[in-house]
């Protein structure tokens, strides 16, 4: 069943230790699957693909002539996390999000952290995610980052590291929820036997934190989507359906007297809270990008007047910048006077002279990333890049150092994955979701992305990655 050889030595494998023995929390799973013939596994995988197609669990790919709707491959072998490991992740994420929220509030208000010279002012002011329009603003209940999808990876040492904070519009949670529904049918008895934490109440928790933002007794909540051609449209409609709220596009909304209304068949209806899945600068052509056709003219003035709550609040991009990321451990210490429970990846900031020199001298060892890009775009994996790619990045870094950071190449952990007739190790990351309402909650599960190509470390769905169901054990 396992490919021979199965490499659990050069990377941390989630199921098998370096000596090839099964880790304790995976034992019941291995016991069960040992007795399943490979043909049966392949058939289960086939049924899974079919189920995804029938459920319309598709995402849209830009610039792809193959047709715009694609399925995110869901591998049937789950990624399992033990209760003790999870407790550590959960505590670390709560601490991190709490500190980042304080940081954003401080940056747009008192700027103590800049006055105390913990962070260089230029770094903040040159950040594309920094919105001057938010200066002096405190959002409803003082919460900026209501929904976060933090990317974690496990290095060879077995430790989890935070790779990205994703405080703007993180996607993928719908795949986590729908994947569980499918995998439940693949291994019907195993989940309860192993004590896997359920994730299905995510939509009601999400609705709770959204309603919490309004002081009305029964606030009207909506999900704002760029539209059906957006790559995450499935998720937007899925969440609206699951929460039982309206899914709106910009054209459905009008602003009058600093209030936001939906255009309905029986006239205008005021809306109080929007879970918006449109980037900050496209939200309102009057306040930000005047070219935006997706947004709602005037919505920002309604927001400032306190007549509508937006989640996440505009301006959170400041904490999502990859150069700011390098300072998060300092941010945690500064605001909480605690040591970070989750580690950062060592990060070289090209706008710092010393770091930049080091980066340019070690391009063949480092992963270089644009500070404001996402989705696996705008990056170079040094050890795997060609000479000319490295030269290109050298020029790019020199001409605009603020735009780049570099990190040592991590060895992402692996999970057995069904490839043809074998289980082979494939690299994965982990994206748990954190909700910030009356308190901070981490959903006991995650969107695990898997790089399906042998040896590949790029897990992004837009670049040939797949996914796995993530089981968090309660005991």
């Amino acid at each position: 069943m396992f490919s021979d050889p199965y490499d659990s030595v050069n990377h941390y494998d989630e199921m098998l230790a370096a000596d090839g023995t099964c880790r304790e929390h995976y034992l019941p799973f291995l016991e069960m699957i040992k007795n399943v013939p490979v043909e049966k596994l392949k058939q289960l995988q086939y049924t899974t693909d079919k189920a995804q197609m029938a459920m319309g669990m598709t995402f849209n790919v830009y610039h792809d002539k193959q047709g715009i709707e694609k399925i995110l491959h869901l591998d049937i072998i789950p990624r399992i996390i033990s209760a003790s490991e999870w407790n550590k992740i959960e505590a670390g994420l709560k601490q991190r999000i709490y500190a980042l929220n304080l940081f954003i509030q401080d940056i747009y208000n008192d700027q103590k952290i800049l006055k105390d010279r913990v962070l260089p002012r230029e770094l903040i002011e040159s950040c594309p995610g920094y919105l001057k329009q938010c200066n002096g603003l405190t959002p409803p209940k003082g919460i900026w980052c209501h929904i976060t999808g933090t990317d974690l990876v496990r290095d060879k040492d077995g430790e989890f590291y935070v790779l990205e904070d994703n405080l703007r519009c993180p996607s993928g949670v719908s795949y986590q929820l729908e994947s569980r529904e499918i995998i439940k049918r693949v291994f019907p008895n195993l989940l309860s036997k192993m004590g896997v934490a359920p994730v299905s109440n995510y939509p009601s928790r999400l609705l709770n934190i959204l309603q919490f933002l309004s002081d009305k007794k029964k606030p009207v909540v909506g999900v704002l989507t760029p539209g059906v051609y957006n790559s995450a449209y499935f998720e937007h409609s899925y969440l609206a359906l699951a929460m039982g709220v309206e899914l709106v596009i910009g054209q459905d909304l009008v602003v009058m007297n600093e209030r936001v209304y939906m255009q309905t068949t029986s006239g205008l209806q005021q809306i109080d809270v929007l879970y918006r899945r449109i980037d900050d600068t496209f939200l309102d052509p009057l306040a930000f990008n005047p070219e935006s056709l997706l947004g709602v003219p005037g919505i920002y003035s309604a927001y400032m007047a306190g007549n509508i709550a937006l989640a996440n609040a505009p301006g959170t991009g400041i904490a999502d910048d990859k150069a700011i990321y390098a300072f998060v451990p300092k941010i945690i210490r500064y605001y909480l006077d605690e040591e970070p429970a989750l580690s950062n990846v060592r990060t070289y900031i090209c706008s710092e002279k010393k770091d930049c020199e080091y980066v340019l001298a070690h391009l063949d060892e480092l992963v270089v990333k644009e500070t404001n890009a996402a989705g696996g775009y705008g990056m170079m994996i040094g050890p795997r890049a060609s000479n000319s790619e490295r030269q290109t990045f050298k020029k790019l870094i020199k001409s605009n150092p603020r735009n780049y950071i570099a990190q040592p190449m991590l060895s992402l952990s692996t999970v057995p994955t069904l490839v043809d007739s074998n289980l082979e190790p494939r690299h994965v990351d982990l994206r748990p979701y954190v909700l910030y309402g009356e308190e901070i909650e981490v959903i006991p599960g995650a969107f695990t992305r898997v790089a399906l190509k042998r040896g590949s470390l790029v897990v992004n769905s837009s670049q040939g990655g797949g996914s796995k169901d993530t089981w968090v054990l309660q005991q």
Partner: protein, 326 residues
């Protein structure tokens, strides 16, 4: 309900009805051709005329052979009303308003779409017997209706879907009657012949009305067929039945009770419905059936426009932009 969403579910209703009609039309015509005597040529032209896309067809095809006709009606992506395009548009509308549908309804519709797409890939039109395919699609859509019947709440959205469905059905019934009646009537010398019987039977079957006709009217007579399709109170595909139910939907949507109307959509629809209510079949035929049906279709279009103006039109929000800048 959001105006944009109401627009989408209305068209969802129309496209689903269109898809089901096309599947049935093709299936019935295919079976009719199988029954034809050996010396009679297959007739696909009347069906293409009935769909209203005759001009488009002759622009792209040389003859009315079976393969071309079925391809055109079912799979041609250049024919905006082909089964494939209607199912795609129904699904696209459903996708836009997925949060308003039940999970089961969406998944069934998605399955139908994938099945039709697969049929296109497998080149179903080239098969010797493609009847099963169209029956499957038809039953798939009917199953979807059944699922919706027992799972969708009777809120405004439900009535918009059915408003679209009934108006589409009224339109299709009147079209197929118009075309078939004209082709069938001139063959006076063949009245009562087996071929004549087959043709009228096929017309009834293409609106699922054969069994009911037998029970209600008995012998096949053109005038009774006209009455069944236009004025019958009980037959769910008669124009009158469709208009009556469309009116109920519309009045539920606007919350109008009692007599009179509260908007122009109700006014145009109500006027047409009550006109039919007080007509008999001689009123329909006396001034020429074709003229009658032509006028009817114009009125149906007016109703659709009025619905659009009253419920779906959005105030472009850039207008407010100007207001704010003042």
């Amino acid at each position: 309900m959001l105006s944009r969403v109401a627009n989408s579910v209305y068209w969802l209703g129309r496209y689903l009805e269109r898809s089901e009609n096309y599947s049935r039309f093709i299936d019935v015509n295919f079976n009719l051709m199988v029954d034809l005597p050996p010396n009679v040529k297959e007739q696909w032209e009347p069906l293409i005329r009935a769909t209203g896309d005759y001009d488009l067809y002759i622009k792209n095809y040389d003859s009315f052979n079976r393969e071309d006709a079925i391809y055109f009606l079912a799979f041609d992506e250049n024919n905006p009303n082909s089964l494939y395009m209607s199912v795609s548009k129904a699904r696209e509308n459903a996708r836009v308003v997925r949060e308003n549908l039940t999970k089961e309804s969406w998944e069934k519709l998605n399955e139908i779409y994938l099945y039709v797409k697969e049929g296109a890939d497998k080149q179903v039109w080239k098969k010797e017997d493609c009847s099963q395919f169209f029956m499957d699609v038809k039953y798939g859509i009917q199953l979807l209706y059944g699922i919706a019947e027992n799972s969708v709440a009777r809120t405004v959205g439900w009535y918009f879907i059915h408003l679209g469905q009934y108006l589409e059905r009224a339109d299709k019934t009147s079209r197929i009657l118009d075309v078939k009646y004209h082709i069938l009537l001139p063959s006076a010398d063949e009245v009562g012949s087996p071929l004549d019987f087959l043709q009228w039977t096929a017309l009834l079957k293409s609106v699922s009305g054969f069994n009911f006709y037998r029970r209600f009217y008995g012998k096949i007579e053109p005038v009774n067929i006209v009455e069944l399709l236009v004025l019958n109170k009980y037959f769910p595909r008669s124009v009158f039945f469709c208009l009556t139910n469309a009116e109920i939907c519309l009045r539920t949507i606007s919350g109008t009770t009692g007599k009179g109307y509260s908007n122009t959509a109700e006014k145009t629809l109500g006027a047409l419905q009550s006109r039919l209510e007080y007509q008999d079949v001689n009123d329909v035929i006396s001034s020429g059936l074709h003229e009658y049906l032509d006028a009817l279709q114009v009125k149906l279009n007016n109703i659709s426009d009025a619905i659009h103006d009253n419920f779906f039109k959005l105030n472009p929000n850039d207008m407010n932009q100007n207001n704010l800048q003042e």
